[in-house]
Subunit: 278 residues, 3 copies
């Protein structure tokens, strides 16, 4: 709806905010909370490495249109729509192939004992399919309802406090909108299920960058209100820095509380900058 109304900047800000929020705030809190209980936590390096590379691909999908815009003087609007559309197709196809990888050819890296352990960590082991489904639907409806109230309330308060749209979109809405991911990922980390916590945090970012963003570009194209992948300089830099830090932390397959602190520090620095941006 926000898309149809042409509020493209807010949509884009919430895309960036969700990516940064998940890989820095959600993952940072998970690593910190898990690390305070366990001196050293490990996770599958291959899966984490794939996640980091998919995040890097997402970042490249934002960097290339931004540099294109910078380099091409004059009126590049027409070609930029085409460029964004074709990049969106590449990102979308890569996302579909990553599902084939995770769910079919290399599912042993993700599923198996961890999924079962996840059920136990959440206290839902042994639930029937019908019960699971009902709880899921009820919970989703409640979360959606509460998010709506919360986001509305926060936006109102934020504007009376003089906060800008971009800060509200990138930081506040992202924090509240991802509350479910936050709590689940932190819970998993505190049960020493770091593979699941990584999956939730990094996986959510990847879904937004490689699935949600391309689909919005497709919808915009079909509905005649084209949306491109051209984000503001600061958003692009934020995503690139976030992906770089997460790669450094994820590539070695282990985590400790200090790595959580560092992810959170990068988040806070960027949140401060977004706050002061006019």
């Amino acid at each position: 709806m926000a898309l149809r109304a042409g509020l493209l900047d807010i949509v884009k800000a919430s895309i960036t905010g969700s990516i940064i929020g998940n890989v820095l705030l959600v993952l940072g809190l998970s690593v910190l909370v898990g690390g305070l209980k366990f001196a050293r936590q490990t996770f599958n390096r291959t899966a984490a490495g794939l996640g980091a590379t998919l995040l890097a691909l997402s970042a490249i999908g934002l960097v290339v249109p931004a540099i294109f815009h910078l380099v091409v003087h004059g009126n590049p609007a027409a070609h930029e729509q085409e460029l964004s559309l074709e990049i969106a197709v590449v990102l979308f196809v890569t996302y579909l192939l990553s599902l084939v990888f995770a769910l079919r050819t290399h599912k042993h890296l993700y599923a198996g004992k961890t999924a079962h352990a996840g059920d136990e960590a959440l206290g839902v082991a042994g639930w029937s399919k019908t019960k699971s489904m009902l709880v899921l639907l009820t919970a989703t409806a409640l979360v959606a309802l509460m998010s709506e109230f919360l986001v509305g309330a926060v936006e109102h308060t934020a504007h009376t406090l003089g906060m800008t749209d971009v800060f509200v979109g990138v930081i506040l809405v992202a924090i509240i909108g991802n509350a479910a991911e936050h709590s689940t990922a932190v819970l998993m980390a505190s049960k020493n299920q770091m593979d699941l916590a990584m999956n939730i945090a990094v996986g959510s970012s990847i879904q937004i960058a490689l699935f949600v963003a391309p689909v919005l570009v497709f919808i915009g194209y079909l509905s005649g209100q084209p949306m491109n992948l051209l984000f503001t300089t600061f958003e692009v830099v934020s995503v690139v820095l976030s992906v770089g830090v997460v790669s450094l932390i994820a590539m070695d397959g282990e985590s400790n509380w200090m790595e959580g602190v560092q992810l959170l520090a990068v988040y806070v620095i960027q949140a401060i900058a977004f706050y002061f941006l006019p």
Copy 2:
């Protein structure tokens, strides 16, 4: 010859194109084809790490002159030639030292059983030196002749199709000119000789960046038609992004088909952008 004629931009575009093409397209295809046959392929991490760092050094050799040009207002042409010449010397010396590393002090990381396995994979084990030499000379001559025809034909067709010089140089010429590397690297990967495939793909890029480019700068300097290392913004960004992604994928010493898909996705995104660049 293209250098002497002053066609520096085309020379530079083919340098960038060869680097990007080798580390993204050749390596991506190799990893994908190899990964479709083998669920998980491994290679020597130390050698791959050295390759990634040499690529990073190459990227720095392009970034520093570009930022210098950006920062220094006015007429910096004179200092830029000196800067490029001295950077070329540093890159060239580093390349020579890397040969000492690979061929003398740490040759066990590269040679040995893999070279023999490579002979077998190519079906040339047991050939005499004379036979090897004759086949090599004939093949090289044929490839050079066919490349000449192909590149000429492609350039003509490309221009009638309205493609720009930079797209032809960076993408088309690079694909066709590196056909030999392509087929050998993919063949090696499909025989599970990932060390050799990595060597060909990453090694070719390194040779171009740390040997061919500096030598062209030296020749230009001596012949009075100076060539510098100042590439376009988009070329520099492309090389940096490519090196970043390859580092992420190479550092862990193992590969799977999805990593090949990701390298190819980054290549396609950049090719699209080069296509639309004016």
Copy 3:
């Protein structure tokens, strides 16, 4: 004192120079000298990874104000002071927490046998506390005195040779001012104590970026001569490139002489560029 006199640019140049000098020159020389004696040296990957991430955090602390300055047109001076001050607080808190990590919760990664081995490498094993303290004080005083003489002499010579302030600050002063770190780190590496050499080189950079720089911002704020974290474009790019290369080299937990050559090559390339900068 240089701070109070308002010579902020020289202070900043020496901050950047110390960071770059330590992670490229000191670490490069150590890895090279150690690598010439030992074919392959190893160090703790977790500690090295933490160092690389803290360096990345430092780089982000420089990148964010620079991009903010670039993005915000008009007169952003007031907000930039606030932004720098708050970022300095985040960096400082992270530094304090990293001390808790290194000295308390995860001290086994750093101390223990290596500290003892370090004493032996330096030939000071078995010294009493009083003797150690006296030698330390005397040595520090002598080094400070000699540095003062040297830096003064070098600055004079450098300016008569036509070198710029920024080259003197970033390159010359950093080399001479860090002479103690240089010799100790190289000595440790040559005794195969790579953990200690890494600690000295990377640790010094982190101290300057996350402790000295924030403290200078605090002092500037309190003394009414505000210093911000806004560095020149070339300094920011240099720090980012240096951190990237060090991460590539440190993450795998092993080193060889060629990695030292590469660090030095990156240093020389940047020194050349700083020399030609007006």
